[in-house]
């Protein structure tokens, strides 16, 4: 089975006081729609954006994104 990128952004947003997609997008420099696309697995973010997302939640990259 082909591997793909998975993420836990939805869960991380929930644990961050139900942070909105718009707020997360604003903090990492992408649109709300792009955050939604990342959560749905429709877009694989750049390494820079992936690091920024992990940084916003204060977690290591591998906790926000995984390759499986």
């Amino acid at each position: 089975m082909a591997k793909s990128i998975h993420n836990t952004i939805r869960t991380l947003r929930f644990h961050a006081g139900e942070m909105t997609q718009a707020e997360l997008g604003q903090r990492v420099g992408v649109t709300r729609q792009t955050i939604a696309a990342i959560e749905q697995g429709k877009y694989s973010p750049s390494l820079e954006t992936a690091f920024k997302i992990a940084e916003v939640f204060g977690v290591p990259l591998e906790q926000a994104f995984s390759w499986s």
Binding site: T31, T34, A37, Q40, K42, Y43, P45, T49
Partner: protein, 142 residues
Amino acid sequence: MAFREKMAWLTLLGFLLTYAYYFGVAGPAVEFGKNDMLDIVRSFGPVAALHGLITAAGSLAIFLAARRDASHKADERDRAIDRKATSVAYAVMMIGVLIVGGVAPFTEPAYKIVNGTFAVVVISEIVRDVMVIMGYRRGVHG
């Protein structure tokens, strides 16, 4: 729906509506006329003007309805989708140009070459818009 996806829908529908008429009705009619440049200008001009009008009015409507989204700069996903769509449309345009510019001059009359050139531009833009919409709908990676 993302602002740029709405714009792609507008461009796609604008092209389909106006140029379906041109290539279906107005363009072929020139063949039965005098076949000079003015015939083509007379048939293509109003269609191009109508297309411009539809695009301007539609853009304004989308901008007013989604003013906040319109103010956002294109982000990395927008650019990735645009890059992929443009590269596919470029290939389509190159093939079209080779056919219209490299083959048609030896086999077709001038007015068909002119319309063929218009068709290549329109088809390339339609392909680009469809690719943009697919990029937003189905996703894009890499």
